[in-house]
Symmetry: C2
Subunit: 160 residues, 2 copies
């Protein structure tokens, strides 16, 4: 099964598709959807929606896993990230995907083993877990793969 992980953002929205399987997960695709701050918000959301629609129709994930907005961030960012999350949720449901949401701490815990892990550690662990040799760039792509891996980790815990 395929899982699409999302690190949501209006300027940069990371995505990562993994295949859950034995003996371990494989990275299928990862990247970043960028939108221009010169565009109005509605157009930027529309562009993200279209890119997500293309990704879902290409990879047919069963699950879309999304990182929750961090309340501690500044409110303006919280607003735009929330808008992105809302748009992606509806697009995912439209395509009959299951939706999973994880806090940043849950993602860090699942991928690096502790909730206080730094960006660089997450990046390294994602590469290790997925057997990716070259450095994952940009970091939003690694973060999105981490969200997808978080779904996978929680799923195996439930299965045990």
């Amino acid at each position: 099964m395929f899982v699409l992980g999302i690190d949501p953002g209006l300027s940069r929205c990371g995505y990562g598709v993994i295949k859950i399987g034995k003996p371990k997960e494989k990275a299928v695709s990862a990247g970043v959807i960028r939108t221009s701050p010169n565009e109005v918000t509605s157009v930027r959301l529309f562009e993200i929606r279209n890119e997500i629609r293309t990704l879902i129709s290409e990879y047919r994930p069963e699950v879309v896993a999304i990182e929750r907005v961090l309340f501690q961030r500044n409110v303006k960012t919280a607003v735009s990230v929330s808008q992105v999350i809302g748009v992606i949720m509806v697009e995912a449901l439209d395509a009959d995907c299951e939706i999973a949401e994880y806090s940043p701490t849950e993602v860090k815990l699942a991928v690096a083993g502790y909730g206080g892990a730094q960006k660089a550690e997450i990046q390294t662990m994602v590469q290790l877990l997925l057997g990716i040799e070259k450095k994952l760039d940009p970091v939003d792509a690694a973060d999105a793969l981490a969200v997808a891996l978080c779904y996978s980790a929680n799923r195996s815990m439930v299965a045990r």
Copy 2:
């Protein structure tokens, strides 16, 4: 031309359709989309999206006017309201509607003449401006009509 005004919210999302014309605006439809707190957010957003889609296909508004999220509100509310706004924006663009956004203060200013107007004053002014005799209930419907009227007021200012 028709304008769809939105007072966005996850539990209660007010909507109001007005027809802009001479000698004055007319109310066409108003109400509230309610979703249950027992449902997960994604399903609630999906329901709101479907209702908005129905309204747009029924009334074919040229403009969807949306009240901005109030930063001072608590963050949890800001997140859910922002999610609703994002979903509605994309749906409106999908239907080739123009999108207008107004702050609560702009809406109050346009409808009641001052930015500090109370809920009840807005309700009364909306009824007066649209020639509605019976009390607008619930208040979310009146608020949504106020947002649509705000678009109309700003439009005539630009035209002058």
